[in-house]
């Protein structure tokens, strides 16, 4: 069969107006249905003609899945809320600035206007072999093209490799893990609420899935408890370009300090493993210690223990070490404390306006 990587295949477009209807449609069509939020991930798959669903369930008309709502214990963000809305939301900025910082660094303004939080956390990996339609393990084949002696794997995993060495690409997820967010999933068996880090599935459990969603399931909301509101946050994303780029790596931390001592802390790192990583060993090790450079050094070294580099990504080990160091020692600094990163953001704001 000759190949063409353009022109969306024909499918039935279903546009429900309620979450209930959406879920019914998804359950009705099962694995033949593709659920689309903002479309930023879906449209690539479709236009490349690699995914050919019979039915596309477009959630853009489901108003109840949009918006940020205060709850008795924090906030609930509808899965269809755009990243731009989250970044600009006064309540999020005030209490959960970590998330605002993270989503503001996603992709580009145009993409953030369209992309949703539900889509950002549920997006597929960006391994260029897999996305290019190569028949790898994750695509149902029996080889990993990135993990060969000459495979091009600069952007791939240093942890958690299990046949697949792709990394999870989301910027919002580490912030949500650090904020102890809960994901609300509607399944055929009813509603399930899971911890952020438990939403994701590693290749060791199921190499063809990246999260817990099964055909018919629907992520409807993400809840952030008040426990970490107003905590001291640190987020940093390292990327090749200053806009429109996935992370080479990102780190997020939320900390409660008692004087200069770390009383409580949650730290997560992404783009290092097929699953977003929460660094619980590091959290435990730094708890009760001073939030200073020495603790940061120790934390960074601990974080990279067990890392296994591929041919072209050994740099990720010092990068993770240093990012975790900063997230611990520098917890409380605004993202991109560098004036230059701030300038880039200011420039982006200017371009936007």
């Amino acid at each position: 069969m000759a190949v063409i990587r353009d022109v969306m295949p024909a499918f039935d477009l279903l546009q429900p107006e309620s979450a209930g209807d959406a879920q019914k449609l998804l359950q009705q069509h099962g694995s033949d249905a593709w659920v689309m939020a903002g479309g930023m991930d879906s449209l690539d798959w479709l236009k490349d003609r690699i995914k050919k669903p019979g039915v596309l369930v477009d959630l853009s008309g489901v108003e109840e899945l949009k918006g940020v709502r205060a709850t008795g214990d924090g906030v609930e963000i509808g899965a269809m809320t755009t990243l731009t809305e989250i970044a600009n939301h006064p309540g999020i900025r005030k209490n959960y600035g970590l998330l605002a910082q993270a989503v503001e660094l996603v992709a580009s303004p145009q993409i953030r206007n369209q992309a949703t939080l539900g889509g950002n956390v549920s997006q597929d990996v960006r391994c260029w072999y897999y996305r290019g339609g190569w028949p790898c393990y994750r695509a149902g084949g029996n080889i990993c093209f990135a993990d060969t002696p000459v495979g091009r794997n600069r952007e791939h995993a240093i942890f958690g490799a299990n046949r697949c060495v792709a990394v999870h690409p989301s910027d919002s997820v580490p912030a949500l893990i650090a904020l102890d967010a809960k994901f609300v999933v509607q399944t055929s068996g009813g509603e399930r609420v899971v911890d952020a880090e438990d939403y994701f599935v590693g290749p060791e459990d199921d190499i063809t899935r990246i999260n817990m969603l099964r055909p018919g399931d629907l992520l409807t909301a993400i809840r952030i408890p008040a426990a970490w509101a107003g905590a001291r946050f640190y987020f940093e994303k390292v990327r090749d370009r200053n806009v429109w780029d996935f992370p080479l790596m990102n780190v997020a931390s939320a900390a409660r300090l008692n004087g200069g001592t770390i009383a409580e802390i949650r730290i997560a790192v992404n783009a290092v493993s097929p699953r977003p990583m929460r660094l619980q060993a590091v959290e435990a090790a730094v708890r009760g210690r001073a939030a200073d450079a020495d603790t940061g050094e120790m934390a960074g070294k601990l974080a990279v223990e067990g890392a296994v580099p591929l041919q072209y990504n050994a740099y990720k080990i010092p990068l993770m070490r240093n990012l975790v160091k900063r997230a611990v020692a520098g917890a409380g600094q605004p993202q991109g404390s560098s004036t230059l990163a701030s300038n880039a953001l200011a420039q982006e704001a200017t371009c936007r306006s």
Binding site: M1, A2, V3, I4, R5, D6, V7, M8, P9, A10, R49, S108, W128, Y129, G132, F145, T148, V150, G151, R152, R154, E236, V238, R239, D240, R241, N242, V243, W244, D245, F246, L248, Y312, N313, A314, Y315, K316, P318, L319, N322, L323, K325, R326, S338, L340, A341, N343, A344, Q347, E348, C351
Partner: protein, 838 residues
């Protein structure tokens, strides 16, 4: 040459910069170009925006092998589908034919050259067939019903691997290009194991070259040097990534092909289309009013644009061929990677004593594109070594077709040499600007190897002044005095010299003064974003002394009469076509006087032209331009285009005939003398801040200071200076190919994977300036500017990085965060030293 090099250098130093527009009404002043509103409001129509009644669509099938031979194509299931109209294969494409160039020389068809479709694809992504149908969805579904049986053939994507003993050839005929009796020929070349002895140490092997030249006493230069450095450096393969892919729409009417597409050169594309389709040029009408970028990849279009033309003729219906971003990645052309090694001797003051330079160019799958060879000429001009040797080899690989990309060879040569200069300045304790100044060309500088015992020279060069004024504006000395290291942040500043060719001569202009009194310039230049399509005619309006408001420019449709025009490549247009505009406007004044004399009596010398009138000197009777246009029609013959001058190109004569009877029709050829070859020059300055914890760096400041002759249009010049600097910067900071060598296939095929720079990757206050010293060898003094800033954009960033980090962090571009972090951690370069496309 009237002056010795020393005399011309002294004269050059005496020339002073002047404010833009000095002495002119129009030249050097900003204005609103007639295409501006359409461009900024989205009303401009590009090829993809056109529709014609009954239009069909076609889509391509690209090779999924880096090298193979088609055994069998079974399209029966596709052709049986409703709505599918035709399948086109390589067998339907006209054979390559010899052709006559502008000078009447026969250019032999290249048997290894690229065709629109092929049965032996030479790279992953080469087009092998096309399907036409009623819409694109039907095309796509039909394509997936076609069975193609291909025989895999040996492939190689790394030029050095091909040169190894026993290395694979990309083609049965060989792996390297040589100059044969009938032009470029492919032959086999393998080096020895001994040649590769230092490969693992990152030193470029230098086996038997296929080309070489030298001048001066190279060994003597090294003997006399206070410092000799020998370094290897690899430049990246970089796709052009034009925002408008090479989409084309075609239909036929009355035996003529009408083709809508984007091209850099409106007039010059017609002969190319005619040649590819075996048509006469008068059988081709090209419509290309707007072009979304070219950068050398669309100088005369691309051969694949004949596919919709052939399908249209076959199906007797208009056919649109849209090209996707991924397809553009394969067929959109790319700059060849050059692997370079240079041994350079320096005197104590930083003056270069000799250069020994070797290049290996990855020329891609079809035609030769030896950017290494062209880089050597630029190196010899820009750094003025008293002795130099170049050797090199151009290697065919199974990777996409290369073509010129802004400053082809120039970028690579500058990028290979400049880091060595930066290192030398540090080792010698010489200021970076001072080292460049002592080596930079000046006046009628000589360059390249001798030909018949004589080296050629440039028309003029004032680069030392640009360097001095640039250093002042950039506050070079003040920046040097600032702290280099604050916490985990390291700061560095860099300077680089840059230049590229800047003009040709001998083209034609065409003006019509209409019976309504409008002055109409016919422009065969492409509207590729530089605005030269309009700008150059301001020189004509300046000569005629008319207000710009009564001038019109006709462009973008060859049925409207296009004079013989240069190709918009090699930064030649501004220079070449201001000369043509100057020539035709001068001739137009003469013709106006003749018309006045014939109408009002007296001789032409009794009249002068001004205020859109031709009138008797000292007052008295005269004609408005409207009246002159009417009188010209009445006079006929040479005045209204029913006759054309003998000395213009045949294409211009055809254009004159096309507009005959529309007013006073004037055509003329640029015959102004020129001593030397025209180049433009830039001094580039950059500052970076590197985060040593992450390797991430930001460009905090940038300045490009140009020696580009007379400034024609400041806004468009600024766009070129900064835009092309950014193109160069892209090579330093991130844009590249990534290939899997096991499968010979690219893995980075989209913008987010190839990473062309964004507006946020360059400084907020990126600056440019120009000397505005006219080139003495051309009437208006304007030189081209498109390509000269590119090399400096790249090299100034690399030099700023090595200023911040030291010399041992990177040996190829682009330099990513991972390069810096890994090397900084290890204390030595950790890249694969001699391979691009990782």
């Amino acid at each position: 040459m009237a002056d010795t090099p020393q005399e011309s250098a002294m004269k050059a130093e005496q020339e002073k910069p002047r404010p833009y527009g000095t002495g002119y009404r129009l030249i050097g002043h900003d204005y609103k170009t007639p295409d501006l509103i359409a461009k900024v409001t989205g009303r401009s129509k590009y090829a993809e925006d056109f529709r014609a009644e009954g239009m069909l669509f076609c889509r391509l099938v690209l090779s999924q092998m880096p090298h193979g031979r088609i055994r069998r194509i079974d399209a029966s299931r596709a052709l049986a589908m409703p709505g599918v109209k035709a399948v086109l294969t390589a067998d339907d494409i006209p054979a390559q034919a010899d052709f006559l160039n502008d000078n009447g020389q026969t250019i032999k068809a290249n048997q290894w050259g690229e065709r629109a479709l092929t049965n032996e694809p030479m790279f992953f992504g080469a087009p092998i067939l096309a399907v036409a149908a009623v819409d694109e969805l039907t095309c796509a579904e039909a394509i997936e019903k076609i069975d193609i049986e291909m025989e895999p053939l040996p492939f190689v994507i790394d030029p050095l691997e091909s040169l190894r003993p026993g290395g694979k050839n990309p083609h049965a005929d060989g792996n390297v290009w040589t100059r044969g009796k009938s032009g470029e020929e492919l032959t086999e070349l393998k080096w020895t194991d001994a040649d590769f002895a230092e490969y693992e140490q990152g030193r470029l092997p230098m086996g038997k070259p296929m080309g070489e030249w030298s001048y001066g006493d190279v060994e003597g230069g090294f003997r006399d040097a206070a410092l000799v450095l020998d370094e290897s450096f690899v430049t990246p393969d970089v796709s052009h990534q034009c925002l408008e892919p090479r989409t084309a729409m075609a239909y036929w009417q009355n035996g003529k092909l009408y083709l809508h597409t984007g091209t850099q050169s409106t007039y010059q594309t017609v002969p190319a289309i005619a040649r590819w389709l075996n048509l006469r040029t008068d059988q081709v009408v090209l419509i290309s009013e707007y072009t979304g970028g070219g950068f050398g990849s669309k100088v005369t279009g691309t051969v694949i644009m004949i596919i919709p033309a052939i399908l249209s003729r076959k199906l007797n219906a208009p056919v649109m061929m849209r090209i996707s971003r991924e397809e553009e990645h394969y067929i959109g052309r790319a700059r060849p990677s050059v692997l370079g090694r240079a041994k350079i001797g320096f005197a104590k003051d930083g003056r270069i004593t000799a250069i020994d330079y070797y290049t290996v160019t990855n020329s891609g799958g079809y035609e030769n594109n030896d950017n290494g060879a062209s880089s050597a000429g630029i190196v010899s001009l820009l750094y003025q070594p008293p002795a130099m040797r170049w050797r090199g080899v151009s290697v065919m690989t199974n990777t996409p077709t290369r073509s010129a990309q802004s400053a082809p060879g120039g970028l690579q040569g500058i990028t290979i040499i400049e880091p060595i200069l930066a290192q030398a300045a540090r080792k010698l304790g010489v200021d970076q600007v001072a080292l460049r100044r002592v080596n930079s060309p000046e006046g009628k500088a000589e360059y390249g190897p001798p030909s018949h015992g004589q080296r050629t020279h440039v028309t003029s060069c004032f680069l030392k002044q640009a360097l001095d004024l640039g250093a002042e504006q950039f506050q070079w000395k003040e920046r040097l005095a600032r702290p280099r290291r604050v916490g985990s942040k390291a700061r560095g500043v860099g300077v680089a010299l840059s230049c590229y060719v800047g003009g040709t001569i001998g083209f034609d202009g065409l003006i019509v003064i209409t019976p309504e009194g409008r002055v109409r310039f016919h422009s065969g230049i492409g509207n590729l974003g530089t605005e030269s399509v309009i700008d150059v005619h301001r020189a004509g309006a300046e000569v005629l002394g008319v207000p710009w408001e009564i001038c019109d420019v006709v462009w973008g449709d060859t049925s409207k009469g296009m004079p013989y025009t240069c190709a918009s490549g090699g930064s030649q247009t501004t220079h070449a076509m201001t000369r043509a505009a100057y020539a035709v406007a001068t001739e137009c004044k003469q013709k106006l006087k003749e018309v006045a004399a014939k109408s009002l009596g007296g001789s032409p010398e009794d009249y002068e032209v001004g205020n859109a009138r031709v009138y008797r000197k000292g007052g008295g009777a005269g004609l408005s331009f409207a009246q002159a246009g009417q009188k010209a029609i009445a006079l006929g013959g040479i005045y209204d285009g029913h006759e054309a001058p003998d000395d213009v190109h045949k294409a211009t004569r055809a254009a004159v005939a096309a507009v005959a009877g529309q007013g006073l029709v004037v055509a003329a050829r640029d015959k102004a003398p020129r001593d030397g070859n025209t180049f433009s020059y830039v001094a580039s300055f950059a500052e970076v801040e590197v985060d040593l914890d992450t390797g991430k760096y930001y460009i905090t400041d940038f300045l490009a200071y140009g020696d580009v002759g007379t400034v024609l249009h400041p806004h468009s010049l600024g766009g070129q200076m900064l835009g092309r600097s950014t193109l160069g910067i892209a090579h330093a900071i991130g844009q590249k190919w990534v290939y899997d060598p096991e499968y010979g296939a690219p893995v980075a095929r989209r913008f987010y994977q190839n990473k062309p720079p964004t507006i946020l990757d360059v400084p907020v206050n990126m600056q440019w300036a120009a000397l505005n010293i006219p080139d003495p060898e051309t009437p208006v003094g304007a030189r081209g500017v498109g390509e000269p800033p590119v090399g400096g954009g790249c090299a100034s960033i690399l030099n700023a990085l090595s200023d911040a980090l030291g010399d041992d962090n990177f040996e190829r571009a682009p330099v990513y965060a991972d390069t810096i972090l890994a090397s900084y951690e290890a204390g030595r370069p950790l890249q694969h030293p001699l391979m691009a496309s990782i």
